[in-house]
């Protein structure tokens, strides 16, 4: 596994160097290596297709503009996730301040959670997901809303993206210990809201 990881790193470095030389295919391949994870993270953090699309575009445009300056001081993924995390944090903070977007939309059957509404509109939605009880879903949404923006991002990166705390700390520009404390607080809130409920 270690050999495979090292080989992947070498391949990726070659790809980055090719992209730095201005080879569009290399840049596109680099984007395709990470873009699904980036979009998934933005989509689940921001819970809005439009915002996720904006973050996606801004992330990879910044990568494109700044790639020539990338000096391999850290791994490419750390650098990339630093951009993603900062943009998502900005969006979440803006939202918290402006409250520009309500969490619910009006439908014929009353007020429905915005994200649930989007899910139901999708033709390709997995029927299994629809079976998830509305109550559990509401409880999860409520507790996610209670997390601070940084707790939300750390929790997303650890629980859903499977990133190690060290990498999360590097991406957020904080120590591993600080990231751990952040995750600890987030899981305490989750447990308090969901532990006895499920």
């Amino acid at each position: 596994m270690a050999v495979q990881g090292a080989t992947q790193r070498v391949d990726e470095n070659a790809l980055i160097r090719a992209a730095q030389r201005g080879e569009p295919e290399a840049f596109e391949q680099l984007v395709r290596t990470y873009d699904q994870n980036v979009l998934r993270m933005a989509y689940n953090l921001l819970r809005s297709q439009e915002d996720a699309r904006d973050v996606y575009q801004e992330v990879f445009l910044r990568v494109y503009r700044n790639l020539p300056k990338f000096r391999f001081d850290c791994s490419f993924s750390t650098w990339l996730y630093r951009i993603v995390a900062n943009l998502c944090l900005d969006q979440i903070r803006k939202r918290k301040v402006r409250k520009e977007e309500g969490q619910s939309v009006d439908t014929a059957s009353g007020e429905v959670d915005r994200f649930q509404f989007l899910m139901e509109q999708r033709a390709d939605v997995d029927p299994q997901r629809q079976l998830l009880s509305v109550e559990v879903n509401q409880r999860i949404q409520a507790v996610l809303e209670q997390l601070t923006p940084r707790e939300r991002v750390v929790f997303e990166m650890r629980h859903f993206q499977g990133m190690r705390l060290r990498a999360i700390g590097e991406s957020l520009g904080v120590t591993e210990e600080a990231a751990k404390n952040c995750l600890f607080r987030a899981t305490q809130k989750m447990r308090a809201a969901l532990g006895d409920f499920l």
């Binding site: 979009l39 494109y64 998830l132 999860i140 650890r158 532990g195």
Partner: protein
Amino acid sequence: MTCHDVQTNLSLYLYGELDFAREEELEQHLNECAFCQSALAREKGWHTALNSERRDVPLDLLAGCRQSLRAAIAAEAGERKRTSHFTFSWPKFAFVTPNRWSAQVALGSFLVFIGFGCARLIDRHDLTLGPRSGGTISMGVLNPSTAHIRDVEQSGPGKVRIVIDQIDEQQFEGPLDDEKIRRLLLAAARDSLDPGIRVDSVDLLKDQSGSDIRDALLYSVQHDPNAGVRLKALEGLRRFAADTPTRSALKVVLMHDQSPEVRSQAIDILVPAHHQKLELSPDLIDLLRGVVRSERQSDDYAQARALELLREINASVDEY
């Protein structure tokens, strides 16, 4: 380590983020404390519930994002070309003074490299002058399901450049125990977007031996969004029913899976049909009580079966 310490650190434990000494202490406590064991089960429960709440990115959103990004980058690249002041000056590079021999060596190496590179490129892509033997695409040949035209631009007077993204289909055939086939099936069981492919892959893998197979089945039964795939994985896990990781996963599935069929199968694997006196471990009894008390439909087979098993060992439903 106290119960409070253990319970506040359960998530970090599940994430594998505790240091070695603390993890050892916690596991030692867990081995001896039924209360904390059930707390661990609850902790795993909400972790699993969060995973099932996870939203997949709509495919059209990803496609739209890629298209917009491509357009934005093309625009930026065009802008760069127009404003670029950087020109490569051959004279500066070529006319090195004799005492800068290292630069001369570098120039020589560079030219040799270019020579070899061009030769390889011509060889690999058949870039010979005149009509190409295999690379041209005539009208109607492009298969829309495997290829699409990414870009069309005028490349000179009377010339056009067309860029095609094409998926190259590859086929692999071989015995199920072939390492490559096995790796591909494991990847398909986990990563394919098509639940039909996942269910077929799990079906083919489930009778193979190896801990990687068990791990793949455990992953599918806990994380696959499709109930059919989870049921297929459960079939394969029957033969691993005595293993601790399998039993832990089955307990989570029994408590939290949304599909009654999956829960029914899980309870039957955990406590198979028997003809002798039934003996159940305390944590399993607790789990069965949890199943009976859960707010599901009363006609749920798993709930009825759990009640039947508790009665068989004369255990009450409410007793802790």
